[in-house]
């Protein structure tokens, strides 16, 4: 992150040079959204210590995590309604 990507610097720059342009403020919202996504990614890296690892290790871990989570999600979506229905039938 260079100095130009710094949040307050960018905000000041925008407010001083483009004061009443609506499409420029929309651009600032998009920029803030991307900054938020970057912040979320940074939190993920920091909390799981991936920040200290090399890029291929990050890829490996993220791939594994994604695979496990997506399998769990898929199984839940496909099988849960049937399980819940049969449990209700069993207990009623």
């Amino acid at each position: 992150m260079t100095l130009n990507d710094h949040p307050t610097f960018l905000r000041h720059k925008l407010s001083y040079t483009y004061k009443n342009c609506h499409w420029k403020t929309m651009l600032s919202y998009i920029r803030r959204f991307f900054k938020f996504i970057h912040w979320l990614y940074l939190q993920y890296l920091l909390n799981t210590a991936l920040y200290m690892l090399e890029p291929w290790e990050r890829l490996l871990f993220s791939t594994l995590l994604f695979a496990i989570l997506s399998t769990a999600l898929y199984s839940a979506l496909v099988f849960l309604p049937h399980h819940v229905r049969s449990m209700i039938q069993f207990y009623s």
Binding site: W39, L42, Q43, L45, L46, N47, T48, A49, L50, Y51, M52, L53, E54, E57, F61
Partner: protein, 544 residues
């Protein structure tokens, strides 16, 4: 009975909010390094009226939040898993081994070390090694130059670009700002070098005692209000080699659990038995003292020859101050001896800079053995022991540091002499007041912003907790990017969970430098969410 006050001041929970009126009066103080005489007098008057025991000892050690502990363990588990993966790749020769390797293993020799470079060093420390042990390129004053180094292979090797980074120094032990290359102390040291040369080429016992050594010891004894003192060339060696001179087999040493490794090494070398008591916990210490006196040596049941309590004035990792009044009361009641290591507190604490004795207003003859170093507050190198003349004479004859180490060099001694003489004059008093002012301002702002800060509110060592290893590295790198050099400490020096950043405030820091640092900490603290405190509300700096 001392238990009434010690029961109230238990180690984990006492919180004193800073009275708001005092804070406003502090913020009106000027921004220059040496405030005017009028402000200094006002500060001194306020200082005197607030000196009661409870206010001096208020320390805060907030508990670790649960989510921080869980995430820290998770981080270490993931690092451990990847460590095993990389070790497997290295051992099966898929990846090249970069660390130290036993050269004789192939020739059939028995391995010289158990493991050449431990798992932790290979897989966790080396990955982020660039935040530790940075070489510096100038005198470590309030602002200094760091050499820039770049690594192409993830911190296994470095190359120096030749450029230096100018940064604010929040890591050097420069409490009174004596680390300067120009000024009265530096001029005196250069003159001493021209008069006496660099080395005395001998030990103190033989022909190595010069008149500046005698002058230093006399000045130091007058400064500390003790009978006599002796100075050595290395602070670590002062502890490690002089504890064996005062303790031996058949003695008991009771040491605080957070004591420095030099004290622990000295205890082990002496051959005495040692036990640790919980950090700053006077009840635990009293229980152990009573048990020791009643039961004696565990195997032979004989009474101990003497019992020595070893504590530090200011603990450098925790920022806490020892409970000296209660210790003196305990010591007198149970007839034990007290050894106090004032490495970080001499010069930095107290109205006249005399250390913890001055801070609590206690007579120096109550502590049997006072030890300190010149490295931290006096801008020099070495250590000293101070106490009664009989003790110092015994040490002069029986200590290895005196009989075998070569005596201190002339410019080093002259720097200490000049700084001691400076501390007596008003200019020195201004430095002490500036340090106290900086310390309270910085600590109060950090606590108000919602960070967890350990220790006593008057100690110039400010440890701020960042629990996770990745956040520690990010914090360090981001601070350097903003031009502030800090020291972050992780696992072997602290407990596994409590990785922290330790700020060392100096009298040479101006209010402006501290504000820059606080703004940077505020920003980074928001980016990587370091505001863990539940006792104090989290606020941004602009709201304060």
């Amino acid at each position: 009975m001392l238990a009434s006050s010690s029961s109230k001041l238990s180690h984990a929970t006492l919180v004193h909010r800073y009275p708001p009126s005092k804070l406003h009066s502090e913020e009106e103080m000027s921004d220059t390094v040496f405030s005017s005489d009028e402000n200094e007098m006002n500060y001194k008057r306020e200082n005197v009226t607030h000196k009661d025991d409870e206010n001096l000892q208020c320390e805060e050690f907030e508990e670790t939040p649960l989510y921080a502990a869980i995430l820290t363990y998770l981080s270490y588990a993931i690092l451990c898993l990847f460590g095993w993966l990389r070790d497997f790749l290295r051992n099966s020769n898929i990846e090249k081994k970069r660390g130290a390797v036993d050269p004789n293993a192939a020739l059939g020799f028995v391995p010289l070390y158990q493991s050449y470079e431990s798992f932790y060093t290979r897989n966790m420390y080396t990955r982020v090694r660039d935040i530790f042990n940075r070489p510096i390129a100038s005198v470590p004053g309030a602002q200094f130059e760091l050499t820039e180094r770049i690594s192409d292979d993830y911190n296994w090797t470095y190359r120096y670009t030749g450029k230096t980074i100018n940064a604010i120094n929040l890591g050097s032990y420069n409490y009174l700002g004596f680390a300067e290359k120009s000024g009265p102390c530096a001029t005196d040291a250069i003159n001493a070098l021209k008069t006496y040369g660099v080395s005395s080429c001998n030990t103190r016992i033989e022909l190595g005692t010069q008149r500046y050594h005698v002058e230093l010891e006399q000045l130091l004894a007058n400064f500390l209000h003790v009978e006599s003192s002796i100075a050595f060339g290395m602070g670590f060696a002062t502890n490690a080699l002089n504890i064996p001179a005062v303790a031996s087999k058949g003695d008991l040493i009771l040491s605080d659990e957070m004591n420095h490794i030099s004290l622990i090494l000295g205890m082990r070398l002496s051959g005495a038995s040692y036990q640790t008591f919980a950090h700053n916990d006077m009840k635990d210490l009293e229980a152990k003292l009573r048990a020791a006196i009643v039961h004696g040596h565990p195997r032979t049941q004989r009474p101990w020859k003497k019992i020595i309590i070893v504590v530090e004035g200011v603990y450098s990792m925790e920022g806490s101050i020892c409970r000296l009044p209660e210790l003196i009361a305990l010591k007198k009641k149970y007839k034990a001896y007290l050894y106090m290591d004032e490495a970080h507190s001499v010069g930095a604490m107290g109205k006249n800079g005399r250390g913890i004795m001055d801070y609590f207003g206690i007579d120096a003859n109550d502590v049997d053995i006072l030890m300190g170093t010149f490295t931290k507050s006096f801008g020099s190198a070495g250590g000293y022991i101070a106490g009664k003349k009989s003790l110092i004479d015994h040490i002069r004859v029986n200590s290895h540091a005196n009989t075998y180490a070569s005596s201190m060099s002339a410019p080093v001694v002259q720097q200490i002499i000049s700084s001691l003489q400076l501390l007596k004059r008003p200019e020195g008093q201004k430095r002490i007041c500036q340090l106290a002012d900086n310390t309270r301002y910085f600590r109060q702002k950090l606590v108000d912003m919602g960070f967890i800060v350990y220790g006593n509110k008057n100690s110039p060592v400010v440890p701020m907790l960042i629990y996770m290893p990745a956040r520690v590295t990010r914090f360090n790198r981001e601070m350097l990017r903003r031009g502030i050099a800090v020291v972050t400490v992780g696992f072997p020096a602290t407990k596994l969970l409590d990785a922290r950043v330790r700020f060392c405030i100096s009298a040479a820091h101006t209010r402006q430098m501290l504000d820059t640092a606080l703004m940077a900490i505020d920003e980074i603290g928001t980016d990587i969410s370091l505001r863990y405190s539940t006792r104090h509300q989290s606020r941004r700096l602009r709201e304060l």
